[in-house]
Structure formats: structure tokens, C-alpha cells
Symmetry: C2
Subunit: 175 residues, 2 copies
Amino acid sequence: MAKTILHAGRFLNLVSADGWEFVERVGVSGVVAILAVTDDERIVLVEQFRPPIGKRIIEIPAGLAGDVAGEEHEALELAARRELEEETGYSADGMREMETGPSSAGLTSELITFFEATGLEKTGDGGGDGSESIIVHEVLPSELRTWLADQVDNGAMIDPKIHSSLCMAGRTLAR
Amino acid sequence: MAKTILHAGRFLNLVSADGWEFVERVGVSGVVAILAVTDDERIVLVEQFRPPIGKRIIEIPAGLAGDVAGEEHEALELAARRELEEETGYSADGMREMETGPSSAGLTSELITFFEATGLEKTGDGGGDGSESIIVHEVLPSELRTWLADQVDNGAMIDPKIHSSLCMAGRTLAR
């Protein structure tokens, strides 16, 4: 498939191939998202303002692999451990790779690899790297549906990766 | 937030705002994805080659709202009914809106609105519009995890919107 770069950005390229337009990330080896579950079965969520959406988004911890100079080939599991610790302050004993799938298969080549983190131990403050401002939440699955609805009522939006990671892990939301 | 268009494509714009780069869709009023469940409880899935990924992707039916000339303000529920029928040949009695969320909040302003379709009746052949080549599958939830794993073994990839829609609807995958 012949690919033409319509615009090469710092972080994203807009490309065209066989009449399709899509965007690809530049200088990353993958994207990871982590369903982290504490020993008392709480789901660890992060909240941050996302400029493309213009709202606070409630998400599972996630981030880019291989985007740090000198670590271009960072393994996905290492990236998952690093992102979880940076964003939430939790180190994980277990980090199980679940599935890899497209975030929007008609619009981007981006693939997300989902992990399930267990055996969590608080080893830092979290909150993200210097450029990020992240609030950490811990919510029981039995309260999650109601809690998420409250967040929407307060102007936030919910990332569907919360739901997909729960389903991949064989968990569900109370109705 | 001041926005600069780095490149205006036919279908996508690459934009920059406050140092963030992201992509936005042009000329659509929304994006819909539909968890369609037959009366005998089978999940209706579609399979198609996706150029940005370079693979066959197994997905729930989905598509753009308002991208047809003269229908720029197409309601999301109407778009969901149209896309379901175009792609799968099913008309739905019930079309329940579930949640709206970002497909990749750091990379695009795209928001997906999820619906649950029930009371399905086969009224057409499906397969997509003229530009699409879509295979329809119907899978029991109890067999879905194994079926999806088989598809991955055969070189396809799984769209996590399958999982997120199941979880939103209060359904789960057998482990």
C-alpha cells in the first residue's frame, strides 16, 4: 500500500494511502493501557483534562511506549509498569498482557495493548510526569456504574477503555 | 483554545492547539457504534479490511453520522439504524443509546456514541455500501471469547469496542 505523508507533525503524521486518510503516531513503539486492581478490589482510574476533547476525561492509566530518548525500543510491559507508577504511584507485582486492538481503525494506525495489573503497592505519589496533572480515583466495581454517571453529570466524559479492559479481564459492571 | 489547522484533508484535519497535535473528522455530526443482539442472543459482528491497520478487523457495526449530502444533521439514532442495516441487513425494533466517549483522547477529537440494538429483523443483505466489503458474523456470548481468539490466530485483530459495548450493556464474556 503506497503511503503519502500529507503533513509530518512533531507527534503525528497525517497520511494518505489508496484514498484513505489516517493519522499515525511518530516515534513510539506502542501504546499501553492498564486495568489496575488493588488488593481490596478497587479499580484505579485517572482523571485529566484532554485538549482534543476539551473536557476532563476519566480513564484507565495509559501512555506511550518508547517515547523517551534512549528508550526507543521500550518493551510494552515495561512501559505499562512505568506509566502506572508515574500516573498513580502504584507498582504492580503482576502485569498480565490481555489484548491488542485499534483505537479507531478507520482513522488511525494506533494500536492499544491492554494489561491487567494486580498486587499493587503504593510506592510514589503519582500525578503524572512534569507535563501532566492527573487526579487518581479508586472505585469499587459495585459502585463504578453510579460513580461514572456522577462524573458525567459533573461535566467529565468516560473513556470506553474502562469498559473494554473490564470486559477483557472477565469483569463486568453492576447494572 | 486557539486552534491551527496544520493540514486540511478531505476527511481529516490535522490540527494543533496549545502545543497539542490531534486529528479531527471533517463533515460528520458524530460516530456511532452498535451492539446488536439477535432474539436468540447472538452478537452481530462485522469483519472488514482496514487500511490504517493493514489487517482484517472484527468489530461491532459502526459508521459516521451526517456524512451523506443533504443529511448533514442526521440524528445519531438514525445513523445507528442506517449503519446497522447497511452493514448487517438487520432492522432494529429497539435502539437504546448507552454512552458517548473518546476513541483516543490524546490523539483525536472523535467521540463514539454506543447503542444497543434489539428486536432485530433481517430486512436486507448487509455487506456495507458500495465502497465497503463486509462479512457478517453472529456469535453466542458463551462462545465469543474462544471465537475471537480463533480470529486472532487467523490473522485478524479485535476492535476493543466489542468489549466496551458488552460491558456498557451489562453483559460480560465467559472467561
